[in-house]
Symmetry: C2
Subunit: 218 residues, 2 copies
């Protein structure tokens, strides 16, 4: 069975095409994500102590944490997803479908597997911890959010730079290039950048205040 | 001219061997690094406000920043260092000599070039800024040090994981494997980890204090 990926000479023996249609695969991911966001928004609204921006952040961390853990975790530890005959949803979305935007996924490119593995194992659980940290107003909340966001930005940078260095030739068509490779990854550039700026400012003002207090005590 | 790297079938046309001996190359790097540390230690000692641990950290940031900028910067932007006939010291150290521990440097592996490029361009200047931030007691000092250290840890993780995924077969001999690939990189695992723990604690205590102050005001 010939695969739909680029470059065409990529060797994927025993490739099995998707059972589900593209719209079904994407709709399930979209609806599941919206459900997660809705659930966290409603639950966090029960506490009057949590600000609106913190509630939005809790939604983001739950969504990104589950994406890291489930989708990227599945990909990182399933080297033969493209042979899947069972119609497993994760093999279809995180593997076969996304590889149309970047065939390095199907080809098990070491850089992509390393970044996805780190993201799944470290940033996945840490993102879910961030949901709890914000809800409970923990003192490590800002620094944790900044650390995960920096990891996401670093991972995305390595992801894009390695593709550029290898000729940026891994999308099956311009549609998949822009829809999957560019647009789907853009959230993990924009949102972590905004969170970094916010946390950086919050932390600086707290450290400054501590410094002023120490000077007063002297 | 046959190259000294592993795997032996790596194709490096027009390879030119080192002019300097291994001991000369390493001694120059060692002495230059010690000079930097000595200079920063002496200069920072002129201010009674800077604690001993902060003076050591300034030495580390100056050393690591110059290593990132000069060595890793040279490597990232010199794809043909292995053809160098001029006896350029940086080509000999950052390129030809280190490739004995990891031939992916000579082979321009995309993962290695991406990590080294990010390290040189972002973490190099940021490390030098950290020297100034500590000296001037800036409120962003801890968060900057934590951000760079996380970047160093992430980069080192990608560096080791990609090598592992590709079979860990890039050292010319067990000697170069342990001396260059393992030992030379170990500092960038141990020291950033310690700095992360320290900065994390400092930031948490500052945020906690700010929280207590806000509660009092209420």
């Amino acid at each position: 069975m010939s695969h739909p990926y680029t470059p065409r000479d990529l060797n994927l023996e025993d490739y099995v095409p998707n059972f589900l249609s593209q719209s079904t695969i994407l709709a399930v991911y979209g609806i599941a994500s919206l459900l997660v966001v809705f659930l966290i928004w409603v639950l966090s609204g029960r506490s009057s102590k949590i600000s609106k921006i913190d509630r939005w952040l809790m939604c983001w961390w739950a969504f990104t944490g589950l994406t890291h853990l489930i989708l990227e975790g599945y990909f990182a530890f399933s080297p033969e997803f493209y042979k899947d005959k069972s119609g497993c949803y994760l093999a279809e979305l995180a593997g076969k479908e996304y590889s149309k935007g970047d065939s390095r996924y199907a080809a098990r490119d070491a850089g992509v597997v390393a970044v996805e593995g780190l993201t799944a194992v470290l940033e996945g659980p840490a993102s879910l911890l961030a949901v709890i940290a914000i809800a409970k107003g923990k003192s490590y909340s800002y620094i944790l959010q900044l650390a995960i966001s920096l990891g996401q930005l670093y991972g995305t940078a390595v992801y894009f730079i390695t593709s550029y260095l290898e000729g940026d030739k891994f999308a099956a068509s311009p549609y998949y290039y822009y829809a999957y490779y560019v647009a789907a990854n853009a959230s993990w550039v924009v949102i972590p950048s905004l969170i970094c700026i916010r946390c950086w400012k919050k932390i600086c003002s707290a450290v400054q205040l501590q410094g002023q207090k120490k000077t007063k005590v002297r």
